[in-house]
């Protein structure tokens, strides 16, 4: 089973996770920039984070045979902090980078005017740079947030078919599909979605334009949820081709809209005593 996790925050994960993901079949992933749990206070903090997503994290992933790409943006939560908003002016010089395959995560958190501005500005940046957009749907007031998101996308210069609407569930999938966008589902241990509910959504909705991710981060989450969905699909009667479509071909097609996916990472060759990330001081 080859797996592409289209949304996972590896900055918050360990090398053990990389190893387990490779063993489970993960060969590629996309790391969206997001909130770090601790609020940032300046654009410089974003710069260091973006640089890590363009440098150190792809290096770590490659040690474990996994192709690493990223999406960059000012996230919805911090779009409300005037100290952080100037990073919008810096995004153009980051969005030209080779491994940036979308603008994201953008979208709504609390649905404020500041979030309206950041979302619209960044949809325009995506259109300007020939990139698709990864749009987070809010955790609170999700359906209203989705509707407002779709409205803003329709008013933007970006083709709705170049938008991935993420963190969907049973209550939002139908309207999200009606927008023409791609459909992302985050599978969590307790919240958002679980494997069995995901299989039920796939049975009802089909596999077209559906992406499944672990969205694993610094919170309670599981980087192997993609594999568990694949196994649950097979147990529920889906074929291997269906699994490959959802877990590999659909994310490749969506992020491939950027023209920047490079998936040819060599397998891990020389795992130094099981840990090739040496510390320069061991």
């Amino acid at each position: 089973m080859r797996i592409f996790d289209p949304h996972i925050h590896m900055t918050s994960r360990t090398t053990d996770d990389y190893r387990a993901m490779y063993a489970a079949g993960v060969r590629a992933l996309v790391e969206p920039s997001f909130w770090l749990g601790q609020p940032r206070t300046s654009p410089a903090s974003f710069h260091d984070y973006f640089d890590a997503l363009l440098g150190w994290e792809p290096f770590r992933a490659a040690q474990y045979g996994i192709a690493h790409h990223c999406t960059l943006a000012l996230n919805p939560k911090e779009a409300n902090d005037p100290r952080c908003v100037p990073v919008l002016d810096d995004l153009p010089r980051y969005l030209v980078k080779d491994s940036v395959v979308a603008v994201g995560e953008i979208g709504y958190d609390s649905m404020t005017p500041a979030e309206d501005h950041a979302l619209a500005a960044q949809l325009q940046l995506a259109a300007d740079h020939g990139l698709p957009a990864l749009v987070h749907t809010p955790h609170r007031d999700k359906l209203a947030g989705l509707r407002r998101t779709i409205d803003v996308v329709r008013e933007s210069a970006l083709d709705p078919e170049h938008v991935l609407l993420d963190h969907l569930n049973e209550t939002t999938v139908k309207e999200a599909a009606g927008s023409g966008g791609w459909l992302g589902f985050s599978i969590y241990p307790d919240t958002k979605m679980d494997e069995d509910r995901m299989v039920a959504v796939l049975k009802a909705h089909g596999t077209d334009k559906v992406l499944v991710n672990s969205a694993a981060d610094w919170g309670r989450s599981d980087p192997l949820k993609t594999r568990k969905v694949g196994d649950a699909m097979l147990a529920a009667g889906f074929g291997e081709d269906d699994v490959d479509k959802v877990l590999w071909r659909n994310p490749v097609a969506f992020y491939g809209l950027s023209g920047r996916l490079q998936l040819d990472v060599p397998p891990p060759a020389d795992l130094h005593e099981g840990n090739s990330i040496l510390r320069g001081g061991e």
Binding site: P43, G55, W56, P58, D89, V96, K97, D98, G259
Partner: protein, 224 residues
């Protein structure tokens, strides 16, 4: 510091070749424009090569067209050709230290590597050492390997150079990457001491001594 000849870069497919031809023409125009005006490039403040810091007013001035090509080389020329394409662009644009510093500071790991590889041909004095030192602080072996080339051999002081050699041994960068190892290691008693101590530490831990360590120790000409 004459511009490098147009290297053939065999293996580029026709689309990549056409892309590179356009990129090189843009780099040539930038070099000529800088020569005409006597300025190093767009919005360039001539200064030191401080590798860090951000938020200056000049950070977001529209980049020269060839600089956008420099960023996009991986996806247009392919990853295997990206280093060669990027260093060639730096040569043809005759990128001065201030430009190299900005491109490093704003660059991905791959772009930073290209800047490091271009240093020996682009920078005559020690002004770019802060970039080399920045790269040697990372644990990204592709950056460490690119940092210990001819520029480091020419300009790193003995203490920093010895630590660079040790860093290579620690992170598994083959010492073949260290330019001029033989010359600089010769009769370096302090390097010999550091290598011998490292070997003793590994032996005490029951871990093998890297073959490269023994080789470097032999090059010092000192008894271990």
């Amino acid at each position: 510091m004459t511009p490098a000849p147009d290297q053939p870069l065999p293996g580029l497919d026709p689309a990549a070749r056409a892309w590179l031809d356009t990129a090189l023409a843009e780099a040539d125009r930038a070099a000529e424009a800088a020569e005409d005006t006597g300025t190093p490039g767009p919005a360039e403040a001539v200064g030191t090569a401080a590798p860090t810091g951000s938020g200056t007013a000049s950070d977001n001035v529209a980049p020269a067209p060839w600089e956008l090509r420099f960023a996009a080389a991986g996806r247009h020329a392919g990853r295997t050709h990206a280093d060669a394409v990027r260093t060639l662009l730096l040569q043809r644009a005759r990128a001065p230290l201030a430009t190299l510093t900005r491109l490093y500071r704003h660059g991905t790991a791959a772009e930073r590597r290209a800047v490091l590889l271009a240093l020996p041909d682009r920078v005559a004095g020690p002004g770019a050492l802060p970039l080399v030192e920045d790269a040697l602080r990372t644990n990204d072996t592709s950056l460490v390997a690119a940092a210990v080339g001819p520029y480091a051999a020419a300009h790193l002081d003995p203490h920093a150079w010895r630590h660079a050699v040790l860093k290579c041994l620690f992170t598994g960068v083959p010492l073949d990457a260290v330019h001029d190892l033989e010359r600089r290691a010769h009769k370096d008693t302090e390097l010999a001491r550091m290598l011998a101590d490292f070997a003793a530490e590994r032996t005490a831990a029951g871990r093998p001594v890297p073959a490269d360590l023994t080789r470097a120790l032999n090059l010092t000409g000192e008894e271990s």
